[in-house]
Amino acid sequence: MSDTEATRYHLPTGAAGLLTDGDMGGLRPVVTLAEAVPFTVLDCFDQSLREAGLLLFAARDRLDLLLPDGRDLSQTGAAGFVGDLPEGPVRDVLAGIVSPLRHLLPVGSGELREGTLALLDDEGKTQARALLHLFAGTGGADVLLATPRGLRGYDAALIRLRERLIACGGAAVEGDALYRALFPDFPLYTNKPALRIAPDETAFQTARAIIASLIPVLRANEPGIIADLDTEFLHDYRVALRKIRSVLSLFRGVFDPDQTMRLKTRVSALMTPTGRLRDLDVYLLEREQIEDLLPEGLSGGLDAMFDLFAAERATAQARLAKHLQSGRYAREIEALRKIFSGGKALRRGAHADIPSHDLACKLIWKRYRKICRMASDIGPDTADTEIHQLRIHCKKLRYLMEFFGPAFPADAFAPLLKSLKKLQDSLGLFNDYSVQQASLRAFVSDLGDHQPHGIAIAQSVGALIAVLHRRQIEERDRIIGSFETFSSPQVRRAFHDLFHREDAPS
């Protein structure tokens, strides 16, 4: 965006005085600034707002949202889940950007003075103005933000105003520049660290680098799990662990086999204490959906069931928090970090020196062909266990494609990943339905006779299982359809061209 058309300008704070320096073609610049009020910038942990170039802050018991297109929205509200905010324009925009599962958290605070720069004509009429935000005391640079607001019929004045802003050192605000200027020390976080894979990189280097990039993701999520801010911290933590485990098993022969085995066990040991809490999170998150599945008369037992889940969740959360704060955990995670930090502790396997790109082609092509072979056999009579197997293969393929993505041209790669994702969505639902049925059965049989609402719960759960079963069967038909696309000649050709070049070792 060129400076003359910018939606917002970022000025050095000293510029506030210069803005009103001298007339501008018969227009008189006037700045008004309100008293300073405290403000706190908010974002969710994965920084979706920063990534989208938005700035959300709480001040004067309201939430203000500055959008990159120059709009400023405001409504009542405070930090929390977006879904819990009162209806309003800020909530509407946030809902499209922030996951409903994520809690809005403070990024940092300071003092804010709001105001305007107005250009007045000889009648005292405002012909153009800029809204001013003077942010200070955040620990970063003080920032003066000017957002031009033209008035209809006064285009020339708006041009003058922009000229003045630029003359005072104003530059177009791009992306998250504001955020970074205000909070330069704020650690940028992403749960999907972007890696670059150099053309001559070896499989050993790539595998090590992937794991090394995932360990900080684990660490970054620990405080949120301990403080129980939202359920996504644990989710991201587990996904990162699972990816680490997949690297260990998918890059077979890249690390020393004995060491790989031991590392896998250690990673699994980190995963184990998180399982029950995640299961309970999932049940509780799906509460509304599950309740919608049952007719009024049959849902009576569900409240009692969810109460039990909620109570158990509190215990499970406390236990996991304690574990994550233990010295043993700290030592273990630090030991793992050291192993992958590039020293000698990580030992090479037979395939350590294969070029990453070649290994990627080989593994992806093999996995894809296997999936196609299995998929060609599925039909109405296929056992659930086979679909389950397929799901696991697809998941591994997905990880491979994500790990190695940077080694391939994005435009050819993205559509393949997309068709895989679609298939995985169906498989995921199918699996959820089957896992839910199994765990509900287990839940009922564990209830015991002394449970006061036992009969009501058993009735509700029985009805629920029946509904889930029906859904599972429906999803199965959809899976067969998705596989047809995924193994179609076009997709096959695309996989072939990208991953099975004639010169590559097969």
């Binding site: 004509d121 009648e123 005292g124 009429k125 405002t126 033209g150 008035l151 209809r152 019929g153 006064y154």
Partner: protein, 249 residues
């Protein structure tokens, strides 16, 4: 979209003061408002410090929608634009019918610049006899300030007659008492008489005679903007609320 005409066949009754504050109150409520200053003196434009723009010639008006929309000026207040006094009356009913027709080039031009309006307020000059019938037809409602004097009673009834004679729906007429002076018993008696003669035609809200309103000429801004807590502002707010409830019903 609603078209509201502030009209009286009598001069100096508070039409402009009302138009200006009504437009301001509606905009503050979030409605996108265009205030059309039909007074060649540019009275409402004066209150918003908008200089009268170059007069649009008839040819411009018919040929060049763009030139027309360019005559519109943003006021100092959000959602409130002014069309300064620059039209001949003859053009004006063409303008109104085009605003009504969603497929007209005028409407399309406004939409294209995100300048379509929820409410158009017309500040009419007195004695627009040649035009008045067209304005009355185009408007969804006609807001009539009435100073409670015997003479005003006659004027209001002439207006009613005009509506009857021209087969215009009398329902569109909404009278209210303007510049009311509580100390004058004559005011009280006239208001009572008029209300009982035309129970449905008068709003309950009334605007007192207030120096804050007179001073609008000094501040050159709506009294609701400069003295939001004043009795005059409350009166205009109540007028706006009651009137719009009727119009939107």
């Amino acid at each position: 979209m609603k078209i509201i005409a502030c009209y009286s066949n009598k001069g100096g009754v508070g039409k402009t003061a009302t138009s200006v504050n009504l437009a301001y109150a509606l905009a503050a409520r979030g409605k996108r408002v265009l205030l059309c200053d039909l007074d060649p003196q540019g009275a409402s434009g004066f209150y918003f410090r908008v200089k009268p723009s170059k007069k649009l010639t008839e040819a411009d008006f018919f040929e060049d929608v763009e030139k027309f929309t360019k005559a519109i000026r943003g006021s100092d207040y959000d959602n409130l634009d002014i069309l300064p006094a620059n039209m001949t009356f003859r053009d004006f009913d063409v303008f109104l019918s085009r605003m009504r027709n969603s497929r007209s080039r005028l409407k399309k031009a406004l939409k294209a610049v995100k300048g379509d309006y929820d409410v158009i307020v017309l500040d009419c000059p007195p004695n627009i006899s040649t035009l008045s019938e067209n304005v009355f037809r185009a408007a969804d409602a006609v807001l009539v300030p009435v100073i409670p004097t015997t003479l005003s009673q006659r004027t209001f009834e002439q207006l009613l007659d005009f509506f009857h004679d021209h087969d215009l729906p009398v329902k569109k007429l909404h009278g209210f008492f303007s510049m009311v002076q509580g100390v004058k018993t004559l005011h009280g008696e006239t208001m009572e008489a008029l209300r009982s003669a035309h129970p449905k035609r008068f709003l309950t809200a009334q605007v007192p005679f207030a120096s804050d309103i007179e001073r609008m000429g000094v501040h050159r801004a709506p009294v609701m903007a400069t003295a939001p807590g004043s009795a005059a502002s409350h009166a205009y707010q109540a007028l706006c609320d009651e009137f719009m409830a009727r119009v939107e019903e």
